[in-house]
């Protein structure tokens, strides 16, 4: 009878802990060989021949890897900065205005890219950009950057909107009461309190852009490989632990960013 008096806890469901462990194992175990073999001294991605940093050195000295990495970072920085600015405005427009007709549909439209299959967006952009290339003759980076910006907006929008909704509006009222014009109330109260959300949104957008394969593969022109599309290209040829080394670095960057995002999102308003 003692057990029935305890409050219900899902932890005591039979097999619950085992299921949880299995999930974590399935999620993280496959990463282990990737990381381990990035330090392999041999040429094989499945045959251990001793500890070495040679593939990291090799990747670092590979001009194609270097240029793809720089391209990835440049695209991700520009796309995340632009996307975050637009997302901040969108978040303010959907939370800091009088309720207006169509507000909910605007919210849905901002988030729609999260639902549309990426391959559909990719094909659509390929066709759409082809039309523009045809008529303008321009083949530069603007296509890649604008595509990345577009799919980063909803990722940047979500943490910013969440923070705005969690912010007590009476603080802005108090600023107005204390002689702050709407603009100064925004710069001195709203924006500083929103900053952790904006940073989290920007970093999330950066990681999403850095990772992207599908849309990039369809939109890039010749010689515009980013790190992920370069890696995809390499996989079609001989696979060396160099790919493991690059992947491990990308993994490290993502883990660091996601950790920072986590702490930023938890910061009290």
């Amino acid at each position: 009878m003692a057990t029935s008096s305890r409050p219900f806890s899902i932890k005591r469901m039979p097999g619950f802990s085992l299921l949880a462990l299995t999930c974590f194992f399935a999620l993280y175990m496959p990463l282990a060989p990737l990381v381990v073999y990035s330090f392999n001294a041999g040429d094989n991605i499945a045959l251990w021949e001793g500890l070495s940093l040679r593939w990291y050195v090799s990747a670092w000295e590979n001009d194609l890897v270097q240029s793809a990495a720089i391209r990835s970072v440049v695209v991700a920085v520009i796309a995340s900065v632009v996307a975050t600015s637009l997302a901040t405005m969108a978040a303010l427009g959907t939370t800091r205005t009088r309720p207006y007709r169509g507000q909910t549909s605007i919210y849905a439209m901002v988030n729609q890219p999260l639902m549309v299959p990426e391959i559909v967006t990719a094909v659509a952009l390929l066709i759409f950009f082809a039309l523009i290339k045809e008529s303008t003759g321009y083949h530069g980076y603007a296509y890649l950057i604008s595509a990345h910006t577009a799919f980063c907006i909803p990722f940047a929008y979500l943490p910013i909107r969440a923070r705005l909704e969690g912010m007590d509006r009476v603080l802005e009222t108090a600023a107005a009461d204390l002689y702050a014009t709407p603009w100064r109330s925004f710069t001195r109260v709203t924006l500083p309190l929103l900053l952790p959300g904006i940073l989290a949104g920007a970093m999330l957008a950066f990681v999403i852009s850095l990772d992207d394969v599908v849309i990039t593969e369809f939109v890039k022109s010749a010689g515009q490989d980013t790190l992920p599309t370069y890696m995809l290209g390499q996989l079609r040829r001989t696979i060396t632990p160099e790919i493991n080394a690059i992947s491990t670095v990308l993994l490290g960057v993502s883990v660091v960013m996601v950790t920072i995002i986590f702490f930023l999102s938890r910061k009290k308003a």
């Binding site: 009222t173 600023a175 107005a176 014009t181 100064r184």
Partner: protein, 364 residues
């Protein structure tokens, strides 16, 4: 006299959700004048419109009809940041990303004062609210009572013409609330600023205010000094909302300018002072405060009779409930002199004696 008026509401109405299905009339043609340097309280139950009136004076809302005047000037159309009026919010609304001193200096800085001026005034405010040694603390590092003081200092620092206080003590525990009541009176006295205080706590309103406006359903029912509101309530709502009251129907037999002859349900006739503007018609309601009645066991001066049903000891007083054949018992409160109290057996026939001068005739 109009020089002495700080704030005036002229026929102010506020309708929320106008021209929709959920139209709410929060204020209904409210007119009131609040004098310079007055501690004025808006008292009423939640939803009576008291906070709406405060928000209209602050400029957070704009009247649907009527005007708000500050020292004789119509400010109805001004946004809050152009009104020399500051607010202490119910949950303080302190800026969490600023220190105590930065919070207090915010209004001064927004007014465009120089760094030195801001620092001087903030220093003086810190002394005024006794927070000097916590000036560099963050808001989440100080207690609720201290936050209350910072909120007061922040609102007082720009020396507003009027300070608005929206139930600022409701989040504090009883002991701290009593301390802050005294503190608020001191601050009002020292600064000489007009305070408009909103509360639903009638005791708070009576102890702190120079004048009280009792509100219900978007209207001001009565404005007066605390003793007037308590002793001479105009209508049943005011009498019922403030303190405990016994209500009793009565019939008017005859009345002139100063006196009314009325007949109680028991058939006894008494003469009481006539209220101004006694309605024509013979049915009225009498209001009798429990502490203004006495229990008598001998037969002189007995106005009302009944049987004692309960005797409740409440420390300084003893409360007697007497069944006088009406739906609710008549309550009499007697002070316990020297800790002694009269022992009357329950169920015994007792009389209730009331000084006719303390009986209020209500116009409801």
């Amino acid at each position: 006299m109009s020089d002495d008026v700080a704030v005036e509401a002229r026929g102010v109405s506020k309708i929320f959700g106008a021209s929709t299905d959920q139209e709410v009339r929060a204020l209904d043609h409210v007119s009131v004048s609040i004098a310079q340097n007055e501690f004025f309280t808006l008292l009423g139950p939640s939803g009576c419109g008291k906070t709406t009136l405060l928000r209209l004076i602050a400029g957070f809302e704009h009247p649907t009809d009527g005007a708000i005047l500050l020292e004789g000037k119509d400010i109805s159309a001004l946004p809050p940041f152009q009104r020399p009026v500051n607010t202490v919010f119910q949950n303080y609304a302190l800026f969490p990303h600023m220190t105590v001193a930065q919070n207090i200096g915010f209004g001064l800085e927004m007014q465009g004062q120089s760094k030195d001026e801001v620092a001087n005034t903030v220093g003086a405010m810190l002394v005024l609210v006794k927070m000097e040694n916590l000036k560099n603390r963050r808001i989440d590092q100080i207690s609720g009572g201290q936050q209350q003081r910072v909120a007061l200092a922040r609102a007082l620092a720009p020396r507003p013409k009027v300070l608005l206080l929206d139930e600022p003590l409701s989040a504090l525990d009883l002991k701290l609330r009593k301390e802050m009541q005294v503190e608020l009176k001191r601050l009002q006295h020292e600064t000489g600023i007009t305070f408009i205080f909103v509360t639903h706590d009638q005791e708070e309103a009576l102890t702190m205010s120079d004048r009280v406006a009792v509100m219900n359903e978007g209207r001001i029912l009565q404005v007066g000094a605390p003793h007037e509101i308590y002793n001479r309530p105009h209508d049943r709502f005011v009498a019922d909302f403030i303190g405990d009251t016994n209500f009793m129907p009565a019939e008017v037999i005859e009345h002139d300018e100063s006196e009314v002859r009325i007949r109680l349900p028991s058939g006894i006739e008494i003469t009481v002072p006539a209220p101004p503007g006694l309605p024509q018609g013979s049915e009225v309601t009498l209001a009798i405060r429990p502490e203004q009645a006495r229990i008598v066991t001998d037969s002189d001066a007995i106005s009302i009779q009944g049987s004692l049903t309960d005797e409740i000891y409440i420390g300084t007083d003893t409360q007697y409930r007497v069944d006088i054949g009406m739906t609710s018992p008549f309550v009499v409160r007697v002070q316990n002199a020297n800790g002694e109290r009269a022992r009357i057996p329950l169920g015994s026939r007792v009389g209730i004696a009331v000084d006719p001068r303390t009986i209020q005739i209500l116009q409801d």
